[in-house]
Amino acid sequence: MTGNGAIELIAVSKHYDNTIAVKSINLKIPAGAYCCLIGPSGCGKTTTLRMIAGHEVISEGDLLIGDRNVTELPPVKRGTAMMFQNYALFPHMTCLENVGFGLKMQGIAPAERMERARDMLARVQMESFADRKPAQLSGGQQQRIALARALITRPSVLLLDEPLSALDPFLRARMRDELRRLQQELGITFVHVTHAQDEALALSDMVVVMEDGVIRQQGSPEEIFNRPRSRFIANFMGGQNIFKGVVGHSDAQSIMVTRGPDSFILPAHAGTQTGSEIEFTIRTDLIGLADAVPPGSENAAIPVEITTVEYLGLSVRIVATTTDGKDITLMKTESEFRQAPVRRKEKFIAYWKPEHAHVLA
């Protein structure tokens, strides 16, 4: 069943009786990519995944996998396999039987089936649990079995529905590494639904942010994190301070924006009009604190008072408030903080490099 695992959704929609879950989305996932669909609950990410899997009928549009139109085909004929959110292991079968189930359905003889199932169990380091029932396993172990069961038919696309959400944080990080390693070893396309931005950033070659049944932005993790296209994405992915201002003057090199008594200089951005309101972001780790505006950051600074200092171990999170009451978050590594400690109620100038400002579309 292995084939090219490139996925293409063309104007795909999903309606239920009166509601639209997914609105005419277009998406191309290259073969062998690790793609994360991310968004708040109800954004249509799971529905999209289930449509790719063939567990949800596509209301409109076409789905291509490996250049074949599979819109009407059942899951097996698509060359996809799905790992379910709560693993959906068959409770009455042993781990070995669970893993071998797909092969049994293909009519493969018991001897070969068992051998291949054992190999797959070994691949996920679960060979010693072959004769256990799923209820006798921990969450992480169940997940490995579910993974082995999905991979046994050698799919070209593996679909994962919130695979890590049921695990504790420590196990989550470990399974994350394993998923990534497995994907690289197998070289097949993984599509992974999650609502955790750290998961998406850590795993993906490609992040797709969804909201209200549409794709808001897609790109590499760096792109999504550093250059969010909207306030929603900036907030959702985190790590950004969002400012609002009125465009005073703009040319090919830069934009001048005023915000109350302060004015800021921003990198040029297509389509900005004088007098319009725009939003821009600055990453929390790219803001510094100084007693006076340092050279190079004229028009990229704002007076603040420290309101919170939170020690997080590796880093320190500082919240500072501007004179008009807006909170700005700063992240410092612990060693940076040690060199220039700050305290609550102290007053500083928060500054950044103008090129670090990013204008939201």
């Binding site: 567990h55 097996v76 799905m82 959906a88």
Partner: protein
């Protein structure tokens, strides 16, 4: 001190249940067992300790024939109620999507239970009889020339009535088991390439087993002990163990009836024990 206190309160709490069981189960059962060893003649029952009742019962070829007949009724009724009950439960659990409709259709299944068993049985008679609705309809359509005799007062009629009466006992526990099956398992089976039949065979049926076992226990115990259906629907031409006991009571042969009852009870308990060995129903309770 505290330990004896809590011990006493434990005993206190189980007292009502223990009393109910003693009065309504243990005492009658012991009475039957005791009476089964008594002697009797045409007029009296005589306290005694003899094995004659059992010797006569187990030595008589009639008993074996009656048991065989009863097993036949139980097995056929079990088979048909299982097939129909499973199908109905499957339809309700997997094809009806909305909970409201599931409840409505479930209620529809119970409507026949608003009338008594006897009435429901008797109502078959004008339908199946020699000049009944079915025979007239068949002859009217030219499908048969003469009335079909096997329809009423036959084994066919007995099993038909039993199936009609007891299918719901199968539907309820199987439906209950099926509703507990995680729908993601059905999708997982489909994802692995299982068609409808393989999903049914490898996922739905194994996971419905506890319900099937409970339903089977209900149906088999009821049919094994039944006498009224056999009497009414066979027109007195067939016998079952229950009917035999009922006849012995009619002849005031209480010790013989008691011995029959004890043997029947042991037989049914053996069947139930065998079923429980096959299927673990504990997780269903």
């Amino acid at each position: 001190m505290a330990a004896t206190e809590s011990k006493r309160s434990s005993y206190f709490m189980i007292t009502p249940m223990a009393l109910v069981f003693t009065v309504f189960l243990v005492v009658p059962l012991l009475t039957i067992i005791v009476v089964s060893f008594w002697d009797y003649d045409e007029y009296r029952i005589l306290p005694d300790f003899i094995f004659e009742n059992y010797r006569y019962l187990l030595g008589s070829p009639v008993t074996w024939k009656i048991y065989l007949n009863t097993f036949k009724y139980a097995a056929l009724t079990w088979l048909f109620t299982l097939l129909i009950g499973f199908t109905v439960a499957y339809f309700l659990a997997f094809h009806i999507r909305s909970l409201t409709w599931q409840i409505v259709l479930f209620m529809v299944c119970t409507i026949p239970f608003w009338t008594s068993n006897i009435i429901r049985m008797i109502s078959w008679i004008p339908f199946l009889g020699r000049n009944g609705l079915l025979n007239q309809a068949l002859m009217g359509m030219g499908l048969t020339d003469a009335p079909l005799e096997f329809l009423l007062f036959s084994d066919f009629a007995v099993i038909l009535a039993d199936v009609h009466l007891y299918t719901l006992f199968m539907v309820v526990p199987i439906f209950n088991s099926m509703m507990r099956i995680d729908r993601a398992l059905i999708e997982a089976a489909r994802d692995a390439g299982a068609g409808a039949w393989n999903t049914l065979r490898h996922v739905v049926i194994p996971l419905s087993k506890p319900g099937i076992a409970i339903g089977s226990i209900f149906v088999i115990t009821v049919v094994m002990g039944d006498f009224i259906t056999v009497r009414l629907m066979s027109g007195g031409q067939s016998a079952s163990v229950g009917l035999q006991i009922s006849n012995e009571i009619g002849l005031l042969q209480y010790p013989a009836a008691a011995a029959s009852a004890v043997v029947l009870l042991l037989t049914v308990l053996l069947i139930v024990a065998a079923l429980l060995r096959l299927v673990d129903i504990r997780k269903e309770l």
